[in-house]
Symmetry: C2
């Protein structure tokens, strides 16, 4: 039975990839008609979107659609695939704001355009050009995501039903992103605030809203799907938090070959994650003082990273976070076992939940 | 008769202002419910949107609607007002990319948040916080513009009809912005390329597409409005270029109390405008060499600005640009005199055309 869900997951990924290829081909034609200067924009976005990506958000949208008992058509999958373009905007702007050098093991978009500017010895400042390009490529990806949804070919009723979920999701995303950026301005980490950020950035944006979007494409009457919507929230919100907590652990302890980010990247960035906030709650004053010196230090050496990791482990926060993940996963799986959810959807939801929190996907 | 059009213009501006106030009030309620940290975001966007703005794009959309012979309802005006939120995104991201300090005589959004960070002695780098906030406030304004359009209350047919114009407009905007940023990388200015940028950034985005958007809300069948669409393009494209050419002149010679930007701001930024490209085509080699030293020099003194202005004037490019504006305006006015356009719309189009190119508005 698990094999069926795995097969579905792989099939959806292939379909998402094919939809992206076909959308981006059309857009390349359109933009290169305006001017050949836009070809590097198409190249960069194609590489960003097609070379990698777990397609998590379209997969959750697919599961939300299946949960209604219906099966998505190609048009529905196209509509869901638009979430990958929104995510591209979020990542491109995120890397710009964090001044991250890499994404998925390759130069971040602002670095890529900075490099292009340099290698072509263009006029002006390379870094400023790279940053401007990242602002605009993110904006373009955001507009494309909308356009791809609007032109997906789903019925007008499905489209109108999806738009309200889609808008709310995007407002929540931007609010969550701002809270995250603002949190770095606080003098000390805080578990409650970090959990709230995890709820908006991951619980809602990555999981709950994509599930709702899928369901809203299948059942266009909000009242008719309200019961299912609640169950999907009961699955998606805890799972999203668990997903973010796993991300926090990977950001400190993850293998660069898996994460696509340098080792200890979150430490170097000084990210105010739940893991870090819990460490500060639990560690000795001396350990907190020492850890504070490492966090946000961009020149961190590998031995300092090792030392910071040890301080985090010694505080016991890693076990607490692992337990929290298990508890949240249990809640999510319990919601997925509801009889309101079609058996086909349930299998996929279970597979996605375990993959997202164990990160074997 | 001209007084009627002036009255319409003022009335529409008031209605746009009222719709913005009511939309932003709802969004403030929503965001402050997520977290009080978002209140400065609401404050900044409210001040940005409500304290100033010529409301050009909603006004052109209104004229496009009137041109069909119909009269916009409050819902239609709400849908058109969403263009102000899109424009807020464009300006906020533009100032960030250009590293402009001011907008409409006040600190640009990235500077405003940099100042907030400093005055509240928050943790981290103030400039990086300011930039991140500008990325996110621009993104939020972009998403809001969509949301305001979707929730405007126009009929489903009108909304679906508007979406395709709206998407094309936004893709063109981002493409035009990229061409503009990329143009700064060229070794020498070029009139044709500068004109193409003016066409995308101003001809299409500021005028043609808002006109089409208005018409698409009133007449939802694209074939039925195709004749009118062409006439609106024949009015909007030349007018948009003329508008941009006026902007080029104001960017060099404008009074800071009118433009809201420091004197000679385009010189300091080294903007590759049509005016500058024409100057380089016409001026002596010695004048070109001297001017090149001033362009893009952020430390330009007021006597250097005066000197650059003189070199531009002496090349004769100012007269050529003024003649070009007159010619484009004549073309636009001729299109507006078409019998396909309702008399009420015609008066407004004439008023908008002269105001936009003489900039008395």
């Amino acid at each position: 039975m698990g094999n069926d869900a795995q097969g579905t997951l792989e099939l959806v990924r292939e379909q998402v990839q094919a939809e992206l290829v076909s959308y981006l081909t059309l857009q390349r034609e359109y933009l290169s008609g305006i001017g050949s200067e836009l070809i590097p924009v198409c190249d960069a976005l194609e590489s960003f979107l097609l070379d990698a990506g777990k397609r998590l958000r379209p997969l959750f949208a697919y599961a939300g659609f299946l949960a209604t008992g219906a099966t998505p058509t190609q048009q529905d999958i196209r509509a869901m695939t638009s979430l990958e373009l929104l995510q591209a905007c979020a990542l491109i702007h995120d890397d710009l704001m964090d001044k991250s050098d890499t994404r998925r093991g390759k130069p971040a978009i602002h670095r890529h355009f900075e490099n292009l500017h340099q290698s072509q010895t263009l006029n002006g400042l390379s870094a400023q050009f790279g940053e401007a390009a990242a602002v605009l490529l993110g904006d373009l990806a955001l507009v494309w995501s909308d356009h791809m949804l609007h032109t997906s070919g789903v019925s007008n009723d499905s489209l109108l039903s999806a738009l309200s979920v889609h808008d709310e999701m995007r407002i929540e995303l931007m609010a969550g992103q701002y809270l995250d950026v603002r949190e770095a301005g606080e003098k000390t980490p805080n578990v409650d605030r970090a959990l709230r950020i995890a709820r908006y950035k991951s619980g809602k944006y990555t999981i709950e809203r994509p599930l709702h979007l899928g369901a809203s494409l299948a059942v266009t009457d909000a009242k008719q799907r309200s019961n299912l919507t609640s169950i999907l929230s009961a699955y998606g919100l805890p799972l999203g938090e668990a997903f973010q907590l796993r991300d926090d652990l990977l950001g400190v302890f993850g293998d660069p070959s898996v994460t696509g980010k340098p080792a200890g990247d979150d430490l170097r960035e000084g990210k105010r994650t739940v893991l870090i906030a819990m460490t500060f709650e639990r560690a000795t004053a001396a350990a907190c003082d020492e850890l504070a010196k490492y966090l946000g230090n961009e020149e961190l050496t590998s031995s300092e990273i090792e030392r910071a990791r040890l301080l985090i482990r010694e505080s016991g926060s890693v076990e607490v976070v692992e337990e929290l993940i298990e508890g949240l996963l249990t809640n999510a799986l319990q919601a997925a076992s509801s009889e309101e959810i079609s058996p086909q959807a349930r299998e996929l939801l279970v597979l996605l939940a375990t993959s997202a929190t164990r990160r074997t996907m």
